[in-house]
């Protein structure tokens, strides 16, 4: 018969024992004894390098190749602890013996792990929901900046996409697919040491993480109610240790290579193309710069070389963990410094973490966690149009610009610029000048502190009160000095005024949660209950504005001219949540489990009458292995079937007070620009302020709802060496809090409403195998695989699709404001455009199509010429227009997954980690520009790819793929570069994310330096990628967190190879 205190002790012991194979400090003892013995596996084969430790001390040794060990112990040492990777930790009492030998048992499987499930913990074997876990040992193998990157490929059903490789990370986390159409509506809830955060988590040092548990289905997440629809990521940081001390230093240095680059034209080829365009321009409107007529006189500038550099990353984490029976502490200091591969980009983080657990009395325990981090990050040239995209299109020569230099920057500090009065080039900038002369700062300080008191009231009955505060404060400025370089050389040219902009804001949030729990076993019946209440209040305060500073040194808003304050950036707003929740689990005979969860959440984001939502869930599990008919089936170590259903909510996509009718204004006249309207108007040259409706009332606005069903199977074979988890899931999401482009007829360009529904269903698999090859070689194979089918099932009455929402707005020219369409009945974010059928080779081809067209023009709005792209008339009406656009590919992967290979041979360890995605398409916007000589949507001549230069259509080079080269006017009317299937590419890839080789020095060498473990390793990330994608990097996420802007390559900050050298030292 079990009782709860036994269960409790077992848990404590589990924690204790499982952490003990870390190392110990020694104490001085006067009397000593020596114990010897042999460590073997279940087949009586010796285990080499197994660790033998005296319990309660830091005395330890390792076994030799024959499995033999010898250890000298103080006389009062009673117990030895034996540990070996992949095997259960074994404690043996010495009881006066001088010989102690053990047979180690393989770790049965992961079923005995403790899983954090929100307001409590459970053994994995008892979990009824879909939960994936990642441990510190898995994370530490791949150097990452943020811990969400560490999750990539580790947990089935969890898709981590590096949107780009910006220092500091820019990551999309999707748990079981896209749950909301709304931009910013797909991120999971992060719970850090029990605190449900409202911000991101890149303030947390990955080295501080002990475990990450990902709650994926509603039966697991419903305890977090209105914030749970996209899954919950529970992060637990490293705690202190009982009765021992461990000092650890983890450090690495990485060098990051320059990325893959576009193959662009040099000045000579560019000028040749310009001359070709000029000669063939039937309108005689295009004339290149005079100097371009003599290509040999030109100097090439290579913008990619000018901007990309080798990056360096350093990371250091010093940890001290220890404590007594009563008090355990964990302290760490981390320093992370990444110099990115793009000039000017960096990310620095200092972090302090302190965890303190204090068992004050048998019935009272306090736990405190304080995390501070300071972040300084900057990416002056990031992804997109004003950033790295420039490198692809800037003309490759600065000749005829700055008369002092034709270089990007010469030895005297002069920066080249394009000719400011020639329209072919005067819209282009020298990005190196901007990066090196502009000043900016983005500093954030984060403090997350929680403290709890836990009262053991009665047998199994506990009360816990948890108080937390989460504060972050941001301070940033941007100063671009005035630029008179062009004006000095080109009389009359405009001097660009200086610009200074400063922003500060602060978020203060507190949380108070109280729970009552009861855990008790009666005979074959076990009950676990937790219930509680929670209140959370978030206050945001901010100020920001800008203007023209008097000098390039002035950082004083009170002295700028034309001061403009940010609209909605100056003031304070408050957001509150109040909740009550409960979970009851009942188990019978270790075979049948049932869990019910309910949370009632209230949010100030909604109007009276719609503030509260109730989110129920239930799940059952059946441990079939424990049935009598499987009792003797030895090849099967465990088998459990799970099923659950629940409803969870999502309120993240909208801001506060969206339910109220609101007017904007009155603002002073200088509030305008950047999409802000002052609403005022001058009469007879005197400004009168104005007000105007900015949003209509929508009292019915409420949270998004997700109904989730999960059926899962957990199995273990071969005495636990092989484990297997499979889940089928279905998510039906509805009532998206969507700020949808509204017909202007409503009076608003966008409206926030609850609209639409979609479904995601899929399978996820995880398999792990631990094996041995010979006596010294152990290996592990881990595979995760996920497949998701996503379908939009409705939007709103009369609307059958949405166009790409939010995020980056690509150049609206030539239809590049309408490049994805999500139709009812189809996947979200599908690319939308024309089908192409090659290139016109003759005027007759065009004339024939025109002759058959109803209005005499096959493509109204264009004057086609040989060399232009032919678009398919899909609806068969004889002409090509908007109605002939169609779905041209989906950014969603058919499946994605990770493969992890571990091996140890004697003191060596190796890790290979692959991540891949199959079946997703990419819309390559950059390529559409690399095939256009015209600066699109503007004026000028821009650079193209070498391939386009060589293969584009000319009368003598009848390409069927690359259209003719055109200046602006022709480019505009040819529409060769509209969104079409030409730009859609297969985005499938397989990346070797990590390969690392480590060597652990023998203990004998280290003990005299008081070092108990020293591992050195080298690793490489992104060593290769297998893909057909022609752009720089196929790993492309969502722009602005919008599922309708997924897989668009608009010139991203590319990833490249890292080479890392690191040390893990434990004292």
């Amino acid at each position: 018969m079990r009782n709860s205190s036994a269960c409790y002790k077992k848990r404590i012991r589990y924690f204790f024992v499982s952490s003990i194979f870390l190392l110990f400090f020694s104490f001085a003892f006067s009397q000593q004894k020596t114990v010897t013995g042999r460590v073997t596996d279940q087949d009586s084969k010796p285990l080499f390098n197994a660790t033998v430790t005296a319990k309660g001390t830091n005395i330890s040794t390792t076994t030799n190749a024959d499995g033999q060990y010898s250890i000298t112990l103080p006389s009062n040492a009673n117990t030895l602890i034996f540990s070996y990777v992949g095997y259960q930790v074994n404690e043996m009492s010495i009881q006066g013996n001088t010989t102690v030998s053990v047979t180690m048992q393989p770790q049965s499987n992961s079923m005995n792990e403790v899983v954090v499930i929100g307001y409590g913990v459970s053994k994995r074997r008892d979990v009824t929901g879909a939960v994936s876990s990642v441990t510190a040992s898995q994370i530490e193998k791949v150097p990452v900046t943020t811990l969400d990157q560490a999750l990539q490929g580790r947990a089935p059903g969890v898709q981590i996409i590096n949107n780009d490789a910006t220092p500091g990370g820019n990551v999309t986390v999707l748990i079981r697919g896209v749950g909301s159409l709304a931009p910013g509506g797909n991120g999971p809830l992060y719970v850090v040491d029990g605190y449900p955060t409202t911000g991101g988590i890149n303030n947390i040092n990955p080295a501080d993480i002990a475990t990450i548990d990902v709650l994926k289905d509603a039966s697991a997440t419903a305890i977090y109610g209105i914030r749970a629809a996209n899954g919950v990521v529970i992060i637990t940081t490293k705690k202190g240790l009982k009765n021992r001390t461990q000092v650890s230093l983890d450090m690495y240095v990485s060098s990051q290579s320059t990325p893959k680059q576009y193959d662009l034209l040099n000045a000579q080829d560019f000028a040749a193309l310009s001359n070709e365009v000029e000669a063939s321009d039937s309108t005689h409107t295009y004339h290149g710069l005079p100097i371009w007529h003599t290509p040999d006189a030109l100097h090439t500038v290579d913008w990619q070389d000018g901007v990309y550099r080798t990056g360096v990353t350093q990371s250091y984490t010093l940890g001290i963990r220890g404590g007594s029976d009563k008090v355990q502490t964990a302290f760490s200091f981390g320093y992370y410094d990444q110099k990115g591969i793009v000039i000017g980009s960096y990310f620095k983080r200092y972090s302090l973490n302190l965890n303190l657990d204090y068992q004050a009395t048998k019935w009272l325990k306090s736990s405190t966690s304080v995390k501070y981090s300071y972040q300084d990050a900057n990416t002056p040239l990031g992804s997109g149009g004003n950033g790295l995209f420039q490198l692809a299109i800037n003309p490759p020569t600065l000749d005829s610009g700055n008369r002092l230099t034709y270089q990007i920057k010469d030895g005297n500090g002069n920066y080249g610029f394009y000719n400011p009065i020639n329209p072919n080039v005067n819209k282009f900038n020298n990005p190196v000048y901007s990066v090196e002369t502009n000043q900016s700062q983005n500093i954030t300080n984060y403090i997350l502190g929680t403290t709890s008191l836990e009262f053991a009231l009665y047998d199994g009955l506990r009360f816990k009160t948890n108080l937390g505060a989460n504060v972050n404060s941001y301070s940033g400025f941007y100063l671009s000095p005035s630029d008179s370089r062009a004006a000095q050389q080109y009389p009359g040219s405009v001097t660009t005024p200086a610009n200074y902009h400063q922003t500060i804001n602060r978020t203060f949030e507190w949380l108070w949660e109280n729970t009552l729990s009861y855990d008790k076993t009666f005979g074959q019946h076990t009950i676990n209950f937790v219930g509680g209440v929670s209140a959370q209040k978030n206050t945001w305060t901010g100020m920001g504005g800008g203007g023209i500073p008097a000098t390039n040194l002035t950082r004083d808003l009170s002295s700028v001219s034309n001061l403009t304050l940010d609209i909605n950036g100056n003031g304070q707003r408050i957001y509150t949540l109040a909740s009550s929740f409960a979970r009851l689990t009942y188990q019978f005979a270790d075979k049948y489990m049932i869990t019910g969860t309910i949370r009632r959440d209230g949010s100030s984001k909604f109007d009276t009458g719609h503030k509260y939502g109730t989110f129920p869930s239930a799940a059952v599990a059946w441990r079939i292995k424990n049935e009598s008919f499987l009792e003797n089936v030895n090849w099967l170590s465990d088998l459990k079937l799970r099923g659950g259903y629940g409803e969870v909510g999502n309120e993240s996509p909208i801001g506060l007070f969206q339910y109220q009718a609101l007017y904007g204004g009155p603002y002073p006249s200088n509030i305008n620009g950047g999409g802000a309207d002052n609403f005022g108007y001058p009469f007879n040259k005197i400004y009168q302020s104005g007000v105007a409706p900015t949003q209509p009332a929508n009292h019915k606005l409420k949270w998004e709802t997700d109904k989730q069903t999960d059926i899962g199977l957990d199995a273990a074979f071969m005495k636990g060496a092989l484990t297997f988890t499979a889940d089928w899931f279905k998510r039906d999401s509805k009532d998206f809090l969507l700020t949808l482009t509204a017909p202007a007829q409503t009076g608003f360009l966008t409206l926030t409403r609850n609209v639409g529904s979609m479904s995601n269903q899929g399978f996820e698999f995880a398999a792990n195998y631990r094996g041995k090859g010979g006596k010294d070689f152990q290996y592990g194979i881990g595979l995760t695989l996920t497949t998701i089918t996503n379908k939009l099932t409705s939007i709103t009455s009369g609307v059958d699709h949405v166009v790409n929402l939010g995020g980056l707005v690509l150049n609206g020219f030539q239809g590049w404001d309408d490049y994805t369409r999500s139709y009812v009945g189809r996947p979200i974010g599908e690319f939308y455009g024309y089908k192409t059928i090659g290139i016109y080779q003759s005027q007759k081809q065009i004339d024939d199509l025109n002759a058959a067209a109803p209005g005499g023009i096959y493509r109204p709005g264009t004057v086609a010429r040989p060399g232009d792209r032919i678009f398919a008339d899909l609806n068969g009406d004889g002409k090509v227009d908007e109605e002939d656009r169609t779905h041209i590919g989906s950014p969603q992967a058919k499946f994605f997954g990770g493969l992890n290979l571990d091996g140890t041979y004697k003191a060596w360890d190796i890790n290979l980690y692959f991540y891949g995605s199959e079946g997703n398409k990419i819309l390559n916007y950059v390529e559409s520009n690399l095939e256009s000589f015209a600066k699109r949507g503007s004026e000028g001549a821009d650079n193209v790819s070498q391939k386009y230069f060589e293969e584009h259509w000319t009368p003598t080079n009848p390409s069927d793929r690359y259209a003719r080269a055109l200046p602006n006017g022709g480019d505009n009317s040819s529409l060769n570069n509209v969104p079409s299937d030409v730009w859609v590419e297969d985005g499938s890839f397989l990346k070797l994310k990590n390969v690392s080789v480590g060597y652990t020095l023998p203990t004998t060498m280290l003990s005299k330096y008081s070092i108990s473990r020293l591992r050195i390793y080298v690793s490489a990330q992104n060593l290769f990628v297998i893909t057909k994608y022609t752009g720089l990097d196929p790993e492309i996420g969502m722009i602005g967190g919008s599922a309708t802007q997924n897989g668009i390559d608009a010139g991203t900050y590319p990833s490249s190879k890292f080479f890392t050298f690191g040390l893990n030292v434990t004292f």
Binding site: T285, L457, W512, R573, L656, Y663, N670, N672, G675, N972
Partner: protein, 583 residues
């Protein structure tokens, strides 16, 4: 046991007494919005009530709306002017339905209409609560009706029938009404406005620029002309609010001068203003939406003066002005022509005073030399026209929009700053147009003598005394001498062209006379060719007759192209909107 009980008690007390009340306290979730104004707050403040009407005017203060749709249509539609730059598709009527100007025009006007629909009940509440007095409430409500009506007027003129939104809370899915019912709504709104608005004479100086009774009559009359109710239109045009309170300025040059903004001839003009200290360069307050400065005027000046030159004139328009018509050089100037704007002459002495001319001449740049090697003071020379840096422009420039002496385009002025963005108001309706419209009504109602008298009013002013009795173009697009125009309607159309080109009306006034009338007039005046989409050499003898192509287009307009395409974005969000034929 006793201690444990105490603990239990403490725990439960803590749980029930402290925590539950806080978390469940209703007010905890009732937070106050500290940004923005509620409708009640607007109605409770006189300034905000007025502001809610000012906000309607504000939607007109948008360069994309005014220039990239209204002005383009009024002037590119007739081929009197052409675009250079990214919008050349207007030159051959291949206007894409996703063109940004169409989109902004449509969206801004519908937002303006909605602001009017929201303002009307707000003013009513404020009137009931005594926040505004009856006279002010009337004026504000009248302004809302006037602005709504004027917005429907321009929507229907550009697109044909459009959805009618007359209440707040529309779901935006209303389909298009017929063009006639939209103009009927314009008539109804203008009639409401006539009853409520203040007379021009009653408007305080600080409110000049607001709609007046007279302006409402002008738009009512014009809307009735679209409905071919010429008798009703005449009645509106003859209302004393118009005829007594508005007058032709004696000197045509003054009508569009910078120092004559909000003049006695102007009925409705979109207001801009230059805030003190506001630079007129990229750092200033030009950005849409809400920009108080426009980018309308200097952008059309020659590339040689501003580096811009985004619009240029058709030599056919220059050729067509009748001998002695003073409007010619105040509307379009070509090679060898001097600028004649009094304000420009006063500030710069003409072309010769502009910074690039001064600097270029000093540097020996031939572009800025006259044929006699003195500093240039004309728009290029007869031997070296200003075709722009790419030789892709005709050498002719719009002089109507070259009146703001503060502007220097993309070059720094003497103060070392670029003056690119201007605050010159944009006149949408003026009294001369009313008189010409009245003349057309008289033609339509068989009062030819009356029509001729009205034409004479406008023409005499154009000649600075007495105009010739015969109306005829000096030359046609080929340079052949013009013939006397004898058809009274054609006489009116010719005067629309010569009086109003370069402003915001010509194409619409032609089209108002009938689609076939407009198509015929434009094609004849420009010798257009169907299916000719590329530039052609100037066929007329003269300085630009060099056999080269300099951005002169001769694409024939057809009935379909007299309507603009419904913007793609509008159709994407309202599937009930049908597209116009031919797009």
């Amino acid at each position: 046991m006793k201690r444990i009980k105490i603990i239990i008690l403490t725990g439960i007390i803590a749980f029930t007494c402290i925590v539950i009340p806080i978390a469940c306290k209703k007010s905890f979730l009732n937070q106050t919005n500290t940004f923005g104004l509620s409708p009640d707050a607007v109605a409770a403040s006189k300034d905000n009530v007025i502001g809610s009407v000012n906000g309607i005017y504000d939607t007109y203060q948008n360069s994309n709306l005014l220039k990239k749709c209204l002005w383009y249509r009024a002037n590119f539609g007739t081929h009197d002017f052409f675009n250079w730059g990214a919008d050349v598709s207007w030159n051959n009527y291949q206007i894409p339905s996703n063109f940004v100007g169409l989109n902004d025009f449509w969206n801004n006007l519908y937002i303006g209409i909605a602001r009017a629909n929201y303002a009307i009940p707000v003013v009513e509440i404020a009137r009931k609560n005594g926040v505004v007095d009856a006279a002010l409430a009337d004026r504000l409500t009248g302004e809302a009706y006037f602005l709504r009506g004027s917005m429907y007027y321009y929507l229907a003129a550009c697109f044909g029938g459009v959805p009618l939104e007359l209440q707040t809370g529309s779901d935006g899915l209303t389909p298009r009404a017929s063009r006639d019912s939209v103009f009927a709504q314009v008539v109804a709104d203008m009639q409401q406005a006539e009853a409520l608005l203040w007379s021009k004479t009653a408007l305080p100086t600080a409110d000049i620029g607001r709609a007046t009774k007279g302006a409402a009559y002008a738009y009512e009359g014009s809307a009735r002309m679209w409905l071919q109710d010429y008798t009703g239109a005449l009645a509106a045009f003859n209302n004393p609010e118009l005829t007594n309170n508005y007058h032709l300025l004696p000197n045509f040059a003054d009508v569009n001068e910078y120092d004559h903004q909000n003049n006695d001839e102007s009925l409705f003009e979109v207001q801009f203003y230059l805030k003190q200290g506001d630079p007129q360069d990229w750092g200033g307050s030009w950005q849409p939406p809400g920009g108080e400065l426009g980018w309308i005027d200097s952008f059309s000046w020659p590339n040689e003066i501003t580096q811009q030159g985004y619009d240029y004139g058709n030599p056919a328009l220059w050729n067509s002005y009748q001998q002695g018509d003073q409007r010619k050089l105040l509307t379009i100037v070509g090679p060898g022509d001097h600028l004649v704007s009094p304000g420009i002459i006063a500030k710069w002495g003409g072309v010769k005073g502009y910074p690039p001319v001064v600097a270029g001449f000093a540097a020996g740049n031939a572009t800025y030399k006259a044929d006699d090697s003195t500093i240039l003071n004309t728009i290029g020379t007869l031997t070296r026209p200003w075709y722009g840096d790419d030789k892709g422009r005709t050498g002719y420039v719009c002089a109507k929009k070259w009146r703001d002496p503060n502007l220097t385009g993309n070059y720094n002025g003497p103060d070392g700053k670029g003056h690119i963005f201007g605050d010159q108001n944009q006149i949408l309706m003026r009294y001369a147009e009313v008189i010409l419209s009245r003349a057309e009504c008289k033609v339509r109602t068989n009062d030819v003598a009356g029509a001729m008298a009205d034409l004479k009013l406008v023409r005499d002013r154009a000649w600075g005394g007495t105009a010739p009795a015969t109306i005829q173009d000096s030359a046609d697009y080929k340079g052949d001498p013009g013939q006397p125009i004898t058809d009274p309607l054609q006489m009116v159309l010719s005067e629309y062209r010569h009086e109003l080109s370069g402003e915001y009306s010509t194409f619409f006034d032609l089209l108002r006379a009938g689609t076939d009338v407009a198509v015929g007039f434009i094609n004849t005046a420009n010798g257009t060719v169907a299916g000719s989409y590329d530039p052609v050499p100037n066929p007329a003898p003269g300085p630009t007759h060099d056999g080269q192509k300099h951005g002169l287009y001769n694409t024939a307009i057809n009935a379909n192209w007299t309507l603009l395409p419904i913007p793609q974005s509008a159709r994407a969000s309202n599937p009930n909107l049908t597209q116009n034929p031919g797009y």
